[in-house]
Symmetry: C2
Subunit: 324 residues, 2 copies
């Protein structure tokens, strides 16, 4: 006998039942002095300062239920927030989680979302310390996280410290999440489930953020809106030019060509968002293990590929397509 699926929606449960669905899935931590249930959380801060960032996902804009389940959404939301902590050189110490959902939302979706958040938090070495549950008009569902972090004996790595002579380096993949999105849009998911998984559940080597900071990274961020756009942010904040070496990306493009074709593979690698790999600049000769050089920092402004301005196809292209 198999258990019947839970078909209840948020309209069928009261606030306490909803909390009973959510709270038992979250772990505890010695650094959480007061967790969920009171007016606020209280989080130990050992280093004298707290990193804080927030990021939101909206149904119909940042995900579609047809393509991502609740656990996928919870996973991605954690990654995109904790990646921001890592990109400062920090270690995540806690998460506040907000869910705004209309009462037609299935309770099972909330349970799956919570499970995804809890699992991704565990992967990131952190815990949920509190949050907010709120109802919404029909058709609205939105999830948001605020992530806290600390710097362990390193200075924060800003976007503004890149200097001519530095190298531009990446840790992790390029373009895979965008290629997975293309497969979902084309309805050819079966051609490469790994790429679709990269879209649904991106990953960041969080520990590489502090490692890069210790190695002397001069600027860093995670790739959320595409290599060209995010690299352009470092260039603008630092008052320098970034020049990407096309040869350094040949392997990334090649790896996607069978799945999406050569032209789209290049577009994904240069402009694909939601990858959450770390992008940083380092003084020449100081690259930490696992990072690879993809370009150089020079005097000037903007971002170029092989010395040429690239016809920018930004992440908005895919972003708007997702909701059309």
């Amino acid at each position: 006998m198999t258990q019947a699926p839970d078909t209840r929606t948020l309209a069928d449960v009261d606030e306490q039942e909803l909390l009973d669905t959510v709270l038992p899935r979250f772990a505890a931590s010695d650094d959480v002095l007061i967790g969920p249930g009171d007016d606020t959380a209280l989080l130990r801060v050992r280093s004298g300062a707290s990193l804080a960032t927030t990021d939101t996902m909206v149904l119909g804009r940042d995900w579609l239920d047809e393509w991502s389940d609740g656990a996928d959404v919870g996973h991605k939301l954690v990654v995109q927030n904790v990646a921001d902590i890592a990109a400062m050189g920090g270690r995540c110490t806690g998460l506040l989680v907000t869910l705004v959902a209309d009462e037609g939302t299935r309770l099972q979706w909330v349970a799956d979302f919570t499970t995804g958040v809890a699992a991704a938090a565990r992967d990131a070495g952190t815990v949920v310390v509190g949050g907010d549950l709120s109802s919404a008009p029909a058709g609205t569902r939105m999830v948001s996280i605020t992530a806290f972090g600390e710097l362990d004996h390193v200075e924060p790595v800003l976007r503004s410290g890149a200097r001519p002579g530095d190298v531009l380096a990446v840790h992790g993949t390029l373009g895979r999440a965008a290629a997975g999105l293309l497969l979902l849009q084309r309805g050819t998911v079966e051609t490469n489930t790994n790429l679709v998984q990269a879209q649904r559940r991106p990953s960041t080597a969080y520990e590489q953020g502090p490692a890069a900071a210790r190695a002397g990274a001069t600027a860093m961020l995670d790739i959320s809106d595409g290599l060209l756009r995010d690299g352009g942010r470092i260039a603008r904040a630092s008052g320098v030019r970034l020049d990407i070496d096309p040869a350094a990306l040949a392997g990334d493009i090649q790896a996607l060509t069978a799945a999406v074709g050569a032209a789209d593979a290049e577009t994904c690698v240069l402009t694909g968002g939601e990858e959450h790999s770390l992008l940083a600049t380092f003084p020449s000769g100081t690259l930490p293990s696992g990072w690879r050089v993809i370009g150089v920092v020079t005097a000037g402004s903007g971002i170029t590929v092989g010395g040429q301005e690239h016809v920018r196809v930004g992440w908005d292209h895919f972003g708007s397509a997702k909701t059309d």
Copy 2:
């Protein structure tokens, strides 16, 4: 010559123009080591621990544009978050602000909202340290704040510390925000603009949170869902009964009777939410200045009025009416 009103919507501006509308309205602070613009904020934490709380408002559920302008929404959102910090005995040290809005949202609304947030933050002695701007499907608008705080040489005041023999006390008004909402619903706003203002722009004497903590408050929260419901939360968390003295509320009810009638006045005082006055329990004889006793803590469970269980008319009554 008068200036033409700004009729642009979010569809007419790019992300940078939107940031240029928002960021100049926010003040700086010595305790904000890194403010808006990088991957995360970095906030000094002097006491070794950070309070953190988050609260969200959704168009059509928590406000209507016909009744509250952008500045009102920004103001109320700050108050309901900072009141949570105060209700732990804390002082607010920074805010992260999230705006999720469809592209039909007027840029002027965003400017007004930002102005309201900035002004209310200044009133609370705090600043905006960062946030998130996100687009949304048509008809969706949602704002959220995460507030940070510190405890200055006091222990956090939880909901769970009330003990038999303590007194129940309130600082500030009761039922005024709910009465203002009733006037808006009835379309009789002109009868009492002060009450409508209490609905649009509630206020909390934030400094009374730390003052209550120093005076030995045993439990505390702010009244966001009504005296009976929020008092019930203290009773449940502390394992005690709260008994409210009806005579202590006579003045609060009398003050609303002319505007909404005697029966609704009582309902507003006992069950009206969004008031954000502070409610706390104190050992007998330790009441700080400005607080007034409205009941006692006894052995038992639940909340009573004059020893009787009250027919609970919860905040949901008004809350759902708002969106009908």
